[in-house]
Symmetry: C2
Subunit: 403 residues, 2 copies
């Protein structure tokens, strides 16, 4: 007799059969006497199709407000279809859009943040014993205009509902059956974890493990919502539980992740004055460009060089911005490289084990992988390497620690 929030991504509801499959998973849990809120994304390629429609009409780029109006129709379609599939199985159900479910956001169209979740309607529908299907990814702002939460927004919607309703758990259904120590499609010895901490999951999410969106993990951590990552195709297989403290297993390293979506920029010949780094990263922050690994080195004749990575889709923007402000920043030249990747090992155990970095670098050396940049935190070591080496590097590092 628990209150469970379930979230299903776009591939889990891609066609009529998948939608019926989700309806079966949901009603199985309802039959056991549980209360259920189900968050759904848009079906399969719907979002891409809608973006293509927008591009056809306005190739230079529509306003973000109208994009949100357009894209939020995708989840509207999927909640209605899932509700129909649940009706078909003979269970009481109601679908709700973001605004009907009480999602109030700020006005940053396309990347809105949830400001408040008014659960009045959700609670009323649960009290009526309805299975409540909620459109993920969307809300409304103070002007009553529709906003979307950006990439991975449906995970965030699910966690927010679980937090606000004090749900017993929040299950995130994907097309893998849990969180693995490396990408199981690439590394045969990858192991599924029973449990993982929020912090480890956060590092893995931001590092491109692509299982859970990091905003949703941050929110789950903040409100102490226990997450479970499970497969919608094998709903009876236990997944991976994400929570604050986990039983320490023998593994030192929790997982090895690859982020192939990285580009590197070098700003060369900067004056060696205070404030130079500030000017660069302040400018990039203003343009909403996410800078990741940063490395500063001494250049020739009293200058210095700064090298850093950005998400590959933001490379053009970043280079454009820096070039535009070349005289303000004061540098000689700029180089960029979009054929790099980031490989990282993550594990809360490494804090107390100083040998982790050395073991990682040894494994990379033996695999013939050249390290271009290194970045470390308490529970993570990342290296920037050539993109072509990335898969080999993941396998070598995984073998050294886990496999």
């Amino acid at each position: 007799m628990a209150l469970i929030v379930k979230k299903f991504g776009g591939s889990s509801v891609a066609d009529a059969n998948r939608v019926r499959n989700v309806a079966r998973i949901v009603t199985e849990d309802y039959k056991k006497g549980n209360s259920l809120v189900v968050v759904v994304s848009a079906q399969g390629d719907t979002t891409d199709d809608l973006i293509e429609k927008a591009r056809e009409i306005n190739p230079e780029g529509a306003s973000k407000r109208e994009m949100d109006m357009l894209l939020s129709a995708g989840e509207q379609i999927s909640v209605a279809l899932l509700a129909m599939a649940v009706e078909q199985l003979g269970f009481p159900v109601v679908s709700l859009l973001g605004w009907q479910a009480g999602f109030q956001t700020d006005s940053k169209y396309g990347v809105a943040r949830i400001k408040r979740l008014d659960v009045t309607r959700l609670e009323a529908e649960l009290a009526r014993k309805n299975i409540v299907i909620v459109a993920g990814f969307q809300g409304i702002n103070k002007y009553d205009d529709i906003t979307t939460l950006g990439r991975g927004g449906s995970d965030t919607s699910a966690v927010a509902i679980a937090a606000a309703l004090h749900a017993d758990r929040c299950e995130i259904y994907t097309d893998v059956d849990g969180v693995y120590s490396a990408d199981p499609r690439k590394v045969k010895t990858a192991q599924k974890m029973q449990e993982i901490t929020y912090d480890e999951m956060l590092e893995l999410a931001t590092l491109g493990a692509q299982v859970l969106n990091n905003r949703s993990v941050e929110m789950a951590k903040k409100y102490n919502v226990e997450l479970e990552v499970r497969s919608s195709l094998e709903p009876t297989v236990p997944g991976t539980i994400v929570k604050e403290v986990v039983q320490m297993e023998k593994m030192l390293i929790r997982g090895v992740a690859k982020d192939g979506d990285v580009a590197q920029i070098s700003v060369i010949g900067l004056q060696d004055n205070p404030g130079v780094a500030f000017r660069i990263f302040h400018l990039l922050a203003q343009k909403n460009i996410n800078v990741d690994v940063i490395l500063q080195s001494i250049g020739r004749s009293g200058t210095k060089d700064i090298t850093f990575t950005v998400p590959r889709p933001q490379l053009k923007d970043a280079v454009g911005t820096l070039t535009e402000y070349q005289s303000v920043i004061g540098f000689q030249s700029l180089t960029s490289n979009d054929t790099v990747a980031k490989v990282s090992v993550v594990g809360s155990g490494m804090e107390s084990h100083p040998g982790v970095a050395a073991r990682m670098f040894e494994a990379l050396y033996e695999a013939g992988v050249n390290i271009m940049m290194i970045s470390t935190s308490e529970i993570k070591i990342s290296v920037i390497i050539a993109q072509d080496d990335a898969d080999r590097a993941v396998e070598a590092v995984h073998d050294a620690f886990i496999g």
Copy 2:
């Protein structure tokens, strides 16, 4: 410097080019200094595609609430796309869903009626000099759930806005450039009317002229909203104006219309008691079956027969209902015919000209068309004939009066 409401149907926004065409029509009027509210339907086949998706999931029929949730996504997509096309031309624009535009309806999902239109947001957006794009066909009920207005609902949305805002005119764009005295695709001598009264338009709409939805004409009549039917493909061609009083033209008959979507039912051998007709039509009304032409005749041995027509899609329902209650109603047998059509002549002029019916019947006789039923009102004469005769009948009658 007028306030104009324009409505564009699904075929007018069927693809990117059509959407851009509508944006041009709209901005041309905006450039002249007019205030503009634009009501749009779902793109071309979107509604049919969504219905098909629902049918795949739940072939026995989804609930009407969830159908409305699903279908209203269609207009959401088209308002966003049209707004993007207007943005692309460099004009200020905002798209609004039914609930955002203030449409409050009753809770009859699928066939909801507008109870109130709160124009606060519409007026605010017009005051900001925005071109306001409104999703037709939809609103919300008192539970904050989405409702749809049923067939032709976007016309009704447009007229409701024009009435509430006291718009100078309401232009309904279709794929024909006005109201004709007969279907111009079938009758070569069909003439476009400059003006037509609400009552005449109502008769033509209910008779299958399929230019304007009759609910919207009724509402336009009630609130004295001047309508203009125009073509989105030839936006510079003047259309047909629908209003209360029109200049009498020489034509006695305004138009000849065909409704091919008709079926005939005969209830045979009824007891000749009071209340028999009441029982039949009360039952059918309870099932929301629209009965049209009714004919009662004396049957054999003190019984009577009642023959009437219903919309063809409701034939099965009507026959089923009557059969179920055969003993309550008390009749011997039931026959039905789904190969009939209704042909009507409409014109306010006919009240003072008793020869109209005779001339119509003569034309049908000369064309060899057998009349099965006759029904008359002040401004209309309808006959039920074999479906195969319908086109020939329209042409013959049109020739006799207009061609």
